[in-house]
């Protein structure tokens, strides 16, 4: 199918600055000769919540894994906070990663540690000059921010799916990141918990002044959090705009995507 709606300038009033924190140029990535991302370019601006939508297998998660170099791109450049991620040595990459928070789809809490130890783990390694009292304070504050102050000594296996996501979010924000990358933050959660996570994403952005990329299938989450939306199809940008632009679009693919998602969200409610 011919891509007709490629790159539309967002028409909504932007609440974010025009300073770029992430700039991706001509990014391509494939696995076993199967292209996943093809010549993709995008920017993330300071204090912006950028939502990336798309069907499974369109390369959304691959994109954010390339940003933190969990995956190495085949070609193209990724500039994060003015640094080309692909050209950094191990030490500089570790320094850059300290400024990036990554919320994994599964939460990725360390099974063998309590929630407190999970939060202390990155804190002790990233903010090495903190005393134990300061660490305790920060852990407590982060857990209070996500409404989990009573889970300090619990193991991840003792928490529900939503609580795990929130604990994982607390682990991510405890180190005061500049950029947040959310990989499907509401997948597998009930609508109420999904709304809570969406609110938390907005709260984190307001409180910590983060710039975020949110990968999601959840239209409600996109509506609640997005300053700007990019839709991917076949590893390329299919459309870019605000939620209003997407809702008003007459494009068949976007219509079908939004209709299905709205229907799904109505059924689950």
């Amino acid at each position: 199918m011919e891509i007709e709606n490629k790159i539309t300038v967002p028409s909504g009033s932007a609440s974010y600055s025009t300073n770029q924190v992430i700039e991706i140029k001509n990014l391509s990535k494939g696995f076993d000769d199967v292209p996943v991302l093809s010549d993709l370019s995008l920017q993330l601006f300071e204090n912006e919540n950028l939502v990336i939508l798309g069907k499974s297998g369109t390369g959304k998660s691959v994109l954010i894994k390339c940003i933190v170099r969990l995956l190495t791109p085949d070609s193209g450049s990724i500039n994060v906070l003015g640094k080309n991620v692909n050209e950094l040595n191990d030490r500089n990459l570790a320094e850059l990663r300290k400024k990036i928070g990554f919320l994994f789809q599964s939460g990725a809490l360390y099974d063998s540690m309590t929630i407190k130890e999970n939060l202390e783990f990155p804190l002790k390694r990233i903010k090495k000059n903190l005393s134990q009292n300061e660490i305790n304070e920060k852990v407590k504050e982060a857990l209070e921010n996500v409404g989990l102050s009573d889970t300090l000594n619990k193991m991840p296996s003792q928490l529900s799916g939503g609580m795990r996501k929130r604990a994982s979010l607390a682990r991510t924000i405890v180190v005061d990141p500049v950029i947040m990358l959310y990989d499907e933050p509401t997948t597998g959660l009930d609508p109420v918990t999904s709304d809570e996570i969406s609110s938390l994403i907005n709260d984190v952005q307001k409180k910590y002044h983060t710039s975020s990329i949110i990968i999601t299938h959840d239209i409600e989450c996109a509506k609640a959090t997005a300053d700007r939306i990019i839709m991917l199809k076949d590893g390329e940008i299919y459309m870019e705009g605000t939620i209003g632009d997407f809702e008003q679009s007459s494009d068949e693919h976007i219509q079908s995507f939004f209709k299905t998602k709205i229907l799904n969200s109505q059924i689950t409610k």
């Binding site: 570790a94 990663r97 990725a108 360390y110 783990f121």
Partner: protein
């Protein structure tokens, strides 16, 4: 024409030649891919070994995690080693006694059993048990961490997962397995004394003194040295298989299984090399 005709008829038709050529080239590609995969695996093992070695000597050694792993390795296998050690000594004695009685050499029983336990049975059996218990545990633990993106999460939070996860495990296995082997040896000799007492009345002090008088330093030294290599191999294989597990849940089981098989095989091969070297040097 009469001569050439049958020859021409024997030449396969062009489409057949084309099919055969395609099949041949497909086979060649498959074989090349297999060879490529083998060399990639060798390269991966070498890279993993190098990264582990480099991380072992880095400044930020995870001492707390190392102690935790030492406790886990020792504590997990202690009951199993206790039973196995006792049984080895007991069985060796029960099996050897009748032969020695026939030759009138029953007084050599403590020394003979002690030597076979210290030199071979203790180290190898303990290492094989550890390969099953520790190697599979490490493979499964790291494999499940890989599947649930915990290793990625560690990497993203600026922590070298090899330094935190692999180095303490390999070092703990390297240090703890020799200790477990010495413990199994001691219990084996104790089991042997119990075995000797089934059909006779042997004084404990006398039995132990006879057993130890048969063991020389050069019996014990190579046997202990090789157990460090057993431990390192078990730890390294378990961690490597877990770390390089695939993405599906099935791969956790595969990683655990491959860890046991490969670690057990390596234990046997290291033992063979150690025996040959000891034989050459002494």
């Amino acid at each position: 024409m009469k001569v050439i005709g049958p020859v021409i008829n024997k030449i396969p038709k062009l489409p057949d030649v084309k099919k055969r050529a395609i099949k041949l080239s497909e086979n060649a590609i498959k074989k090349t891919q297999k060879v490529n995969r083998f060399f990639l695996e060798v390269g991966e093992v070498n890279l993993f070994f190098w990264l582990t070695l480099r991380a072992s000597f880095s400044r930020n050694f995870e001492f707390k995690e190392f102690l935790r792993q030492c406790y886990l390795v020792g504590n997990k296998t202690l009951p199993l080693i206790t039973i196995t050690g006792l049984v080895i000594g007991l069985v060796l004695t029960i099996q050897s006694r009748p032969v020695l009685v026939d030759f009138g050499a029953v007084s050599m029983l403590p020394g003979m059993v002690a030597l076979s336990i210290v030199r071979e049975m203790g180290p190898v059996v303990t290492a094989l048990i550890c390969a099953g218990k520790i190697g599979s545990g490490m493979g499964a633990e790291l494999g499940s961490m890989k599947v649930s993106e915990q290793i990625d999460a560690m990497e993203v939070s600026s922590t070298n997962p090899i330094r935190f996860l692999v180095v303490p495990k390999v070092m703990a296995a390297t240090l703890m397995i020799p200790i477990l082997v010495l413990y199994a040896d001691a219990l084996g000799i104790l089991g042997s004394w119990a075995g000797a007492n089934i059909k006779g009345d042997v004084n404990f002090i006398l039995f132990i003194s006879q057993a130890f008088s048969a063991i020389e330093f050069m019996d014990l030294f190579p046997a202990v040295i090789k157990t460090f290599f057993f431990g390192a191999a078990i730890g390294f294989v378990g961690c490597y298989k877990g770390f390089t597990a695939g993405r599906g849940t099935e791969s956790v089981g595969i990683a655990a299984n491959e860890s046991v098989v490969l670690a057990s095989l390596l234990v046997i091969l290291i033992d063979l090399i150690a025996v040959q070297l000891t034989d050459m040097l002494l």
